[in-house]
Every structure is written in C-alpha cells, then in structure tokens.
C-alpha cells in the first residue's frame, strides 16, 4: 500500500451493486451498503435505496454526491407534481424526471440510477438510467461496479412471473454474489419491496448471507476452533 498513492481525498463513490426486479405484483429493489473514498470504506452501512415518493424509490450508484443531489431534486419536483396532480405520481413520471436531470447534466454527473415503484396504472415497473441519461424500461435492471459480475447470473437465473419471495431471494443472492467478488461492494444487503399494499424494507446483515466459493463460516476466535476439535481417538 503506497501511502503516497492512496487518495484519501477522492470523492465519495459508491462502487456499488444495485438491482431492481419486477415480479408479479410489484418490484423488489436491492443494494449493497459500501461507500468508499478511494480505498477507504467511508460508510459500511449506507442506504442506497432512496425514497422519491410513497410509491417510487431509486437505487443510487456512482458518485455519492451526484446521486444524492439528483434524488433530492427529483423528490422536490415530484412533491410539487403530486400536489398539482392530486394523486400519487406514476413510476414513469418519476423516471423521466430523473432522466431529464441526468441527460441535461451529462457532462458533469457520474451516476447510474435504477428507478422502481408501483402505480395503479402500470403496476410494478423498473427503469434503468445509466450514464449519459438514456432511459430504458426493463423487467429487471442491474447497475454499479458489482453488476459486471451479475450479467451471466441473471441471464441464467431470471424468469418472468416470479412471486414476491422468489424475487427477493434472487435479489439478495445476486447482491451477495457481487459483494463476494467486487471490492467496491460490501456490507449488508438492503431490499425494498413495493407493491399495491405499500413498501417493505428488509435488512440482511453480512453474517446472514450465504457463503460462496472459498469463503469460510465466520468464527469468534481461533481458540474456539482449537478447543472444539479435540482429536477423536482412532478407532481401529
């Protein structure tokens, strides 16, 4: 670790893994919780799934500052829009507001976002808004640096018409796989489920996640291991 090259003043960046998945009835949004400043983990329990309205949330990736300011502006505009409209904003409107800001400031912003929610007209919808400000409606979306490791996984594991529990399990499994391989993702897995009934937030701490290749069951101490394995006498 060359201390001269460590950039402790680098902008806060959420390396991140973010996911949004539609299921039959709504959407499940998921994310990791690591925010890094260069190589230092500035926040190991961030909440990257941010509320825009009662029924629309956004997963943030890339520059922490950029994604926060975009969500703040969109929340502000959506609030006014909801008052004027007299009913909850649709997911499409929320996503297009995000796109507007992302596209018109494309030279300055470095944030990829996944907007997901439920409204009474279209049901559960997911919109991906990558760098540049393209808007693309998808049955599921992945983003952030950790998503590189998930393209193959989703190609194989995704299917249309999952139940709420299947969708959430898929999201948790996927974020956990990405955390295993992406240095910029880590911490806990947070999920937000949005459907006609409302919004449910779930929290999966690091120790409750499945273990993958070459990962070991965590222990309190070596001493426990040494004490536990008192050798059995050979049985000849």
């Amino acid at each position: 670790m060359d201390l001269n090259k460590l950039d402790l003043n680098a902008p806060h960046s959420m390396g991140t893994t973010i996911i949004g998945v539609t299921y039959n009835g709504g959407v499940v949004l998921g994310a990791d919780s690591r925010t890094s400043t260069g190589v230092y983990v500035a926040n190991r329990a961030s909440d990257k799934i941010t509320q825009l309205t009662d029924n629309v949330y956004v997963c943030r990736s890339g520059s922490a500052a950029d994604s926060q300011i975009v969500s703040d502006y969109v929340r502000y505009f959506l609030h006014q829009h909801t008052i004027q409209l007299g009913q909850p904003a649709t997911v499409k409107v929320a996503a297009n507001l995000v796109r507007l800001i992302a596209y018109n400031n494309k030279n300055m912003l470095q944030t990829g976002l996944i907007v997901g929610g439920w409204d009474k007209y279209e049901g559960g919808k997911i919109y991906g808004i990558p760098l540049g400000g393209t808007i693309i409606e998808q049955p599921f979306a992945i983003g952030g640096s950790g998503s590189s490791y998930l393209y193959g996984f989703f190609d194989q594991a995704w299917k249309e018409g999952m139940t709420k529990d299947e969708a959430e399990q898929l999201v948790v499994k996927a974020v956990s796989l990405a955390i295993a391989r992406d240095g910029a993702s880590g911490g806990v897995v947070r999920t937000v489920i949005i459907n006609s009934e409302g919004v449910t937030r779930n929290f999966y701490p690091g120790d409750k996640l499945p273990l993958w290749h070459e990962e070991l069951e965590p222990e309190n101490s070596l001493l426990d291991i040494l004490n536990a394995t008192s050798p059995e006498p050979m049985n000849i």
Partner: protein
C-alpha cells in the same frame, strides 16, 4: 491521483469547458436501409452497448416519425431519445396547423441535418448517425445525417460498421424495384455479415418497412448463422499452433 486533481480543477474552472459532449456511453450499432419497389426497408439490431459490454438487448433503434417517415439511429441512445422528443414536438406542431399538410421525409431529414450541424458548430454534438427514410406522394426518400452534419441521399445507406461491411454488398446486389421479399433477404444478408464481424452486434433485430400505406416495424427476431465450414472445425490442420 493526478487525474482526479485535474478533473476537480475543470469543474471549478469555467463552465464553458464542460459544455461539450465528450464521449458516448450507451451506444447502438449499425443501421442499414434500402429503397425497394414500394418504399423503404430499414434494419437495425436491438443492442445497446456500454463500452465493450453488451448491456441492453431490447433497444428499439428504428422508430416511426409522423405518417411518412422512419428514423433509425446508431450512436448514443440518450441523444437518440432526445432527438425523438424534438421530432415528436415538430410533428405535433405540424399536426396542430390542421391544414391537411404533413411533414414528409425530405422535410424531416432537413430538420435533422440542421439540428446536427448546429450542435456540431457549438462543439456539443448529438452523438448519432441517423438514417431517415420515407414515402410521400409516391416519392421514395432515403437519407443519412452524421453527428457532424454531413448529409446525403442515396438508394442504400448504412451507419457505422455497416458502411464498411454492408454497403459493398448493396453496391453489388441492389437494383431498382426490388420486391419486398428480395429486399428483406438482402438486408438480412447484410445484417448476418454484421453479426459475424461486428463486435457490438447482437442477434436480435427488427426490420421496418414504410410505404405509401404506412409503417410496419417487425417483431424482434434472430438470424440463423452458419459455422459448418471444415476449416472452422479444424483450423490448425497443417499449421499446428496457428490460429
């Protein structure tokens, strides 16, 4: 560390420095189009690449414009979406005149050319190559505009890699009054070559047709590919270690 500091200086410096599109992010690959007996046929795959990752595989890159035209685009998808919004406004205002007139492909092509060229002059281009085709009053029209505003019309046009791979095929095999079937087969021949030889091509495409009657954009479909050459199965026979 140095590049981070350089970026910070740029942001704090003059606003003018950041008012230019530097590079595209999500890009579409080639579009190929030909005139045929009844109108125009245009083909594009449905890929949206993010650098070298084939990230999006259901991007519609050919869209109808008004009653008389279709627009296909390669390059930055967000800029294409913005162009579609501008054209939507253009067509809307044209309809609102309610005077029986409607913008034809020549007019839309001209509008696009002005838009692209003026952005280029401000060093802030819309990062697309556009193909505009249509039929109005029996007149077929097929034109292209690049991101720097170069525009022209021809009997067959293509963007990106299509210029290098598809147009030679079209120069040999295109002729006046192609039937719909022959036109589709010709386009599919071009798209297959692009699939073999263009890294950013995906095997999911749409072919759009526009005639005096109207616009049809096909459902997405995939092309069969051929790999059964003996030399493919044993490429290094007689030259072990080669590729």
């Amino acid at each position: 560390m140095d590049s981070n500091q350089a970026k910070q200086h740029n942001l704090l410096g003059s606003e003018a420095a950041s008012e230019r599109t530097l590079y595209p992010y999500v890009t579409g690959s080639s579009v190929v189009a030909i005139k045929y007996k009844d109108g125009i046929l245009m083909a594009a795959d449905m890929g949206g690449s993010y650098g070298s990752t084939l990230r999006y595989k259901s991007v519609e890159r050919v869209k109808p414009i008004g009653k008389h035209s279709i627009l296909g685009a390669s390059g930055e998808i967000s800029d294409f979406q913005e162009i579609l919004r501008s054209l939507d406004e253009l067509i809307l205002y044209d309809n609102m005149w309610d005077d029986g007139n409607s913008l034809g492909p020549k007019e839309v092509h001209s509008y696009l050319t002005r838009m692209m060229y003026n952005r280029r002059n401000k060093f802030n281009p819309l990062w697309n190559s556009l193909i505009l085709g249509g039929v109005k009053n029996g007149q077929k029209y097929l034109g292209m505009v690049s991101m720097i505003g170069v525009n022209f019309e021809d009997n067959h046009v293509a963007t990106g890699f299509g210029n290098h791979l598809a147009r030679p095929i079209l120069r040999d095999e295109w002729h006046e009054n192609l039937s719909f079937e022959d036109g589709v087969k010709l386009l599919e021949k071009c798209m297959r070559v692009l699939l073999y030889r263009d890294r950013s091509a995906v095997n999911k495409l749409q072919i759009a047709k526009i005639t005096e009657e109207g616009v049809t954009i096909s459902q997405p479909y995939a092309l069969k590919t051929f790999w059964g050459f003996a030399a493919f199965e044993n490429p290094t026979v007689g030259a072990e270690g080669s590729w």
